[in-house]
Symmetry: C2
Subunit: 356 residues, 2 copies
């Protein structure tokens, strides 16, 4: 005796159990089965502006709720060609020395419905390969690590919008948000020279850093214009230890302290300052003026009160988000450079003369 096979009618519980057994996400297919509608009907329910009957819509929404289904961004991005993800290509040290910048960029992009994906480079040199960046579907990129010409060309070839952050490229039109490093360095030299400093030294950032090059250029240019000797430059890695090492090297090479040491960033300036005071017994700014760059939070701590140059991090992050969101939204290829000025923070570690 044979029985008729009962009709197949999977319940929500059956479907949930299946999904659980397969340890996978809920898909539009699951929702379609649960609601008894086609997969394309499910898609239409989640597509703004698409038409679907009220009854179908209600069934689909009920099934979606019971299965905890969210139409995922990856699937939608294949339709809208948007992932709402933006690469941040930056040296590791960016996070360590500008955590405020990272927090601000993250906040500004998230206000625009976008999220940062971190592509950290171990050193402040050009990244070896960007193949991992191309692997993900990204809407755009913030580039804060020095890229080679072919690497920049690759962005254009792939039509991936990008904004350079604190980098500029000579003889090439690119979108960039910058702080005027050369101008900032020139200002600091002028203020120090106006207070009578004559013998300058510099603890410089790494050779591969475009930002460090510009700061060095501004210092050298302005000293030459003022008829002062070029600075004794020693090289550092933008960290505290480099500042300590740099000061020892400068004093060893000169046989004494110079009048002023301009450091390529605040972390090195703080290392230089601590070593001057606690190891070499030098009075700062009595015997030696020490200045930094960046205006990081620690520069303002009472033990330091560092004389430095503050970059307007919040405005720069906002400009970056505005610019990149604009490029992504319009596909507009017009190029713009937004250049912000640093401001002198008159701390207690350098004798400064008046503004020219």
């Amino acid at each position: 005796m044979t029985h008729a096979t009962p009709p197949l009618s999977p319940t929500i519980a059956d479907i949930k159990a299946l999904i659980h057994r397969e340890a996978r996400r809920v898909t539009s297919y699951d929702v379609a089965i649960a609601a008894g509608v086609s997969q394309s009907a499910v898609s239409r329910c989640f597509k703004p502006g698409a038409s679907v009957s009220k009854a179908t819509y209600a069934r689909v929404m009920q099934a979606a709720a019971e299965l905890a289904y969210t139409p995922n961004a990856a699937a939608r991005s294949l339709n809208t060609r948007r992932s709402n993800l933006v690469a941040l290509i930056a040296p590791d040290l960016l996070h360590q020395q500008s955590p405020e910048l990272l927090a601000e960029l993250s906040r500004q992009f998230s206000l625009r419905g976008m999220r940062l994906v971190l592509f950290s480079q171990p050193r402040e040199a050009a990244p070896g390969s960007l193949s991992e960046v191309w692997e993900h579907q990204l809407d755009g990129a913030i580039v804060a690590a020095s890229l080679s010409e072919p690497q920049l060309a690759e962005f254009e070839r792939r039509a991936l919008p990008f904004v350079l952050f604190n980098l500029s490229v000579r003889d090439k039109n690119v979108n960039a948000v910058l702080c005027d490093q050369v101008g900032a360095a020139r200002t600091m030299v002028a203020r120090l020279a106006a207070a009578g400093h004559k013998r300058f030294a510099m603890i410089d950032g790494p050779a591969g850093s475009a930002m460090a090059q510009q700061r060095r250029r501004g210092v050298a240019e302005r000293l030459a214009e003022l008829g002062l000797a070029p600075p004794l430059c020693v090289s550092g890695e933008h960290d505290y230890a480099s500042g300590a090492r740099g000061l020892r090297e400068i004093v060893a090479r000169l046989g004494h302290a110079p009048d002023a040491i301009i450091c390529g960033n605040d972390a090195m300036a703080i290392g230089c300052l601590d070593t001057a005071r606690h190891e070499l017994g030098l009075a700062v700014p009595g015997q030696l003026s020490v200045t930094g760059f960046d205006g990081m939070a620690q520069a303002g701590w009472l033990s330091y009160n560092l004389t430095t140059l503050r970059q307007p991090v919040r405005q720069m992050a906002q400009a970056t988000a505005d610019m990149l969101a604009g490029l992504i939204g319009t596909g507009n290829a017009g190029c713009e450079r937004r250049v912000f000025s640093a401001s002198v923070v008159e701390g207690a570690t350098a004798r400064l003369g008046p503004t020219a």
Copy 2:
């Protein structure tokens, strides 16, 4: 007289021009047209193990190269259900106070072919909504912001693997990587008490922070066991300014400095230390011992040489990446808590007695 329409034969240049005009990415469809093969043949060329003729493969690879086509991760993730993206759900302050941790997590995940997507929370409280997290196709999440029970349940309902970082949840089996905050706090109290400190105060982290709660609990527990008075607790926001404000409040309420102030993290301890020395003229550790938590880089700077508790950040980041990669790879639901111990950094800001 009519002419036969010439056969349509778009060249690579035509296709490129079209893509450029539409300001869009190159798709497998473009490659298929350029190579004169089906779209599914293109897919098979980029799918490991799929079969395709040598001639087709050569044509597709040539077209892909000329169009600069990369099969994107979003498209592939729909097949493999992998995006190689992992959410980092953390308070803003994580980046500001543990930049080393962020750099290390980014490095450890990138060694495993995965990238972090930042979901920063403005405060150290539970995030209001995780809807933005569900919107993206992510393989897993690192949760370093206190979540509510329903929020944790939502991860499970969606079968999204996650690892709690420096958070634990009572009465619930979850995967977590932790530093033993209670144990660390107990050790510091014991070492301070062994040196004769009797009147303790605490500058505590924010009320919403589970980590702060545990540090506070460890301090209170051990003081009670030693028969000492409970600490005078004032609340802070884990930043430098809170340390300064906290010290002023403690001194105002007691009418004098306590013997020791245990601060909920290093930034607050440094703020407390600077204010003690430079504003209130207190000798540290002569008149007052100050201790921190975390072992951040700045704690080791010569001006501070802070007595603190160092968390093994590198090992914790590595354990997190190992654990989450394992969960994603196997879908294994087994629960594990990996608990690391902090070590005392014997700086110069507190008088410590011997280990019990």
